[in-house]
């Protein structure tokens, strides 16, 4: 009995100890890399866990806390962060922070000397400092260079190879080939001493160029000055340093910069942004509506046909459920193969040569057809369940009053059925509004005119369009993608609230 009493406690403390040490470890490295927002969240989580499980302040919280923490970290925080990101210029070329951007520009902004001098380079250490051994075989000039020093060496002091490149020098600890390939990255950011303003920057692991700084960052004025032609570059408020005389001339890389509601303004004002978005939106609504209509229509038809004990009903029923039981990802990939123009089963079956996914309308048809296959069993199951729930007396009474079967169906069965399934129709609409897998795996959103740099394809729905903007093209625009996500949030929220009001589901929680 004693063991029974202590065991849960012991388990509890061991688990807590593990969680605490793990969290502390992560917090410590988060602080070390200056990820303070994440560190603060984790510290709060740690404190909450400690208070909740080491005291009896709140019993319900003991049950909720793990769920709440995960929900906050991976659902609520990302939603809020999406809203924040949508007010930023946050894309390829404007991805890092301003501090990082300044550092990068400083590092990259160099200009070679007039004759474009280069040296053959061997990486290594000198006096325990990062150093390079530079050779100019033609002039037989050799020296070791560290970030602070340049030590000239006579040809008699170095070991040279057949090309006249120095491999060894006194006090120089050359890196092996294997080490060089790993050190490459590290050395490429170091400036090795040359003469005057000039220094040596590595180009790959065996060549160094003589360059000098071409831009100077003026910290007080927060601007870059070109040391060669005296142009001045200031913060343009859109994530870049731009030439004050030529706003198009910006320094790369830029940084993610707050631009407030520019993305939303663009959606309203800029027709290059607005028009594709509107056409994608229209197709999204058409796609979701047609899907619900066709799925419900076929489901209802099948349910009506099966609404009587005909022979083989059980077998039919099992067959109808199969498309729904298959993992949808696999089914979609199978259908994608079937629609292949040259070899696909559909063209073989109908002896046709339709380029399904090259033609906008054929692609749209294919998308709807595949979704019908995937979804009609769901509505079949729902409607046949709902039909059983409709009291038989109603239709019997109507028949006695002389109603034809058609009248019974259209005046009694269908309205009652719609009343039962309408929240599910709304839910299905909302689900298909964001049916990413189908579009992405079947058509990839295409066809689209890639040559014109078109991002929106003929079958792209908002969510696949968003994904493409964020991850799919050459310029990955997370800021704009977030702005569209926020808009979708509102659309989905509206639809869902409408659905909830209809189904009165929230009342049942009171």
């Amino acid at each position: 009995m004693k063991i029974n009493f202590y065991l849960p406690k012991i388990l509890k403390y061991i688990t807590l100890l593990l969680v605490f040490s793990l969290l502390l470890l992560i917090i410590q490295s988060a602080i070390a890399t200056r990820e303070f927002q994440i560190a603060i969240f984790l510290v709060l989580a740690l404190i909450l866990i400690a208070i909740t499980y080491l005291s009896s302040i709140s019993v319900p919280l003991k049950f909720f806390l793990p769920g709440i923490l995960f929900l906050t970290a991976f659902v609520i925080a990302p939603i809020l962060y999406t809203v924040v990101m949508s007010t930023f210029k946050y894309q390829t070329g404007n991805y890092i922070s301003k501090e990082e951007s300044i550092e990068r520009i400083k590092l990259l902004a160099t200009t070679p000397d007039e004759s474009g001098t280069t040296f053959d380079i061997v990486l290594g250490k000198y006096d325990n400092q990062f150093a390079v051994l530079a050779s100019n075989p033609i002039d037989q000039q050799y020296f070791i260079s560290t970030p602070t020093n340049k030590i000239n060496i006579g040809i008699d002091q170095v070991d040279i190879d057949e090309n006249g490149v120095a491999l060894k020098a006194p006090n120089f600890d050359a890196a092996t080939v294997l080490e060089s390939s790993e050190l490459d990255q590290q050395y490429s950011t170091i400036r090795f001493k040359y003469e005057g303003d000039y220094f040596i920057l590595l180009e790959g692991s065996s060549v160094g160029a003589v360059v000098r700084q071409s831009f100077n960052y003026n910290q007080d004025a927060d601007r870059f000055e070109n040391l060669i032609d005296d142009q001045v570059y200031t913060d343009n408020g859109a994530g870049n340093f731009a030439n004050i005389n030529d706003p198009e001339d910006v320094l790369q890389p830029g940084w993610r910069s707050p631009i407030w509601f520019s993305h939303y303004m663009d959606i309203v004002r800029n027709e290059k942004v607005r028009d594709p978005l509107i056409s994608v939106f229209i197709w999204t609504v058409v796609f979701a509506s047609l899907t619900v209509l066709t799925q419900f229509g076929l489901g209802l038809l099948v349910a009506m046909a099966m609404n009587k004990a005909i022979r083989g009903r059980k077998i039919y029923r099992s067959i109808f459920i199969l498309p729904y039981a298959m993992p949808s990802i696999m089914s979609i990939l199978i259908w994608a193969g079937m629609f292949n123009t040259e070899f696909g089963a559909i063209n073989t079956l109908f002896n046709s040569e339709i380029a399904w996914f090259q033609n906008p309308n054929f692609s749209r048809f294919a998308v709807i057809l595949v979704n019908l296959w995937l979804g009609f069993p769901y509505f079949y199951l729902i409607t046949s369940g709902a039909m059983q729930a409709i009291p038989g007396e109603l239709s019997e009474a109507a028949q006695i009053d002389g109603a034809t079967p058609r009248q019974v169906f259209s005046r009694i069965t269908l309205p009652l059925l719609l009343k039962i399934v309408s929240p599910l129709l709304v839910a299905s609409f909302a689900f298909n509004f964001n049916n990413f897998n189908l579009i992405y795996l079947l058509t990839g959103g295409g066809p689209r005119n890639d040559l014109d740099g078109e991002v929106a394809g003929a079958t792209d729905i908002l969510i696949s369009y968003t994904y493409r903007i964020a991850f799919g093209t050459n310029v990955q625009d997370l800021g704009f993608a977030s702005a569209i996500s926020v808009i979708i949030f509102f659309i989905v929220a509206t639809i869902s609230l409408f659905g909830i009001r209809k189904s009165k589901v929230l009342d049942s929680f009171s």
Partner: protein, 283 residues
């Protein structure tokens, strides 16, 4: 009698045509998987030869780490299934049995939050996990543990309705008796509720398993490395663009991966349909 026949005729016509529609892709993928040429092109819909070469390719070709993908999928889906059912069950228990302030607001909030597909905040999840990767490379972007964590974000919301419905159906007398005997809420939960709920917890975790199995977009974004992929991501990448060449092996792979899911699904039909009418839609 004639009328009866006519009535049955249209029913059978509908049933047979819809059956053909439903079965066609499945039939095709099965005959493709046994087609020795392994190509997408089929000259006849009635198979003339039978071969296991596609299945052999799947298990022996070192460029297709199919077994690794399967293992990854099973591990990821199982961990998510178990952990999310524990999280969901405790939340359902608390919502059903404990009295606390803000209960109604809490459950309404949860209901609203879980309606937004995770993919909407994808860019943000990506950026956050990219940052996490910088200081904790084992749980950040591109790792299986990172993917698991993101999946668990939805753990509390997704299955809570089914679970809460079940908790509500357990007679409250049991808890009260336990309370009289001096049991704390935790003890009631572990010693009375969990054993009683074991069957439904098993069902819910299997449903969650199917859900994770079917998840594609996050898995695709996180699992870049060939050997860390799930079956869905692996097969998609493997077939991507080269339908004609890899079709046979893909067919075999998708059949093997689908069979367990179909079996789970068919055996849980009853629960899934009651879950359906509760307003959830399978992904």
């Amino acid at each position: 009698m004639k009328k009866q026949f006519g009535d049955n005729l249209w029913r059978h016509t509908v049933a047979i045509s819809v059956s053909l529609f439903a079965l066609f892709p499945l039939y095709l993928i099965i005959i493709s998987s046994f087609n020795p040429t392994g190509s997408l092109k089929i000259t006849s819909f009635i198979p003339s030869s039978f071969s296991l070469v596609n299945y052999e390719k799947l298990f022996n070709d070192p460029t297709i780490p199919y077994l690794v993908w399967m293992k990854n999928t099973v591990v990821i889906s199982s961990v998510v299934a178990v952990v999310s059912v524990v999280i969901g069950a405790s939340a359902a228990f608390a919502f059903s049995r404990l009295k606390f302030k803000g209960k109604k607001t809490g459950i309404q909030f949860l209901f609203l939050v879980q309606m937004f597909p995770a993919i909407l905040a994808l860019s943000a999840v990506y950026v956050i996990m990219e940052r996490v990767y910088k200081f904790a490379p084992t749980i950040g972007l591109g790792t299986q543990p990172g993917l698991l964590l993101v999946y668990l974000g939805g753990a509390m919301g997704v299955n809570i309705w089914l679970l809460k419905g079940f908790v509500d159906s357990i007679p409250i007398d049991l808890d009260e008796a336990a309370k009289v005997d001096g049991a704390t809420a935790m003890q009631t939960y572990w010693q009375i509720f969990i054993p009683l709920a074991a069957p439904i917890l098993a069902v819910v975790s299997l449903l969650s398993f199917i859900g994770t199995f079917n998840e594609f977009i996050l898995a695709r974004l996180f699992l870049v490395d060939m050997n860390s992929r799930t079956v869905a991501v692996g097969l998609q990448g493997f077939i991507g663009g080269q339908y004609s060449e890899n079709w046979g092996a893909f067919a075999a792979g998708s059949i093997i991966a689908s069979i367990p899911i179909v079996i789970i699904f068919l055996s849980l039909q009853k629960y899934i349909i009651s879950g359906l009418t509760a307003g959830s839609v399978k992904g």
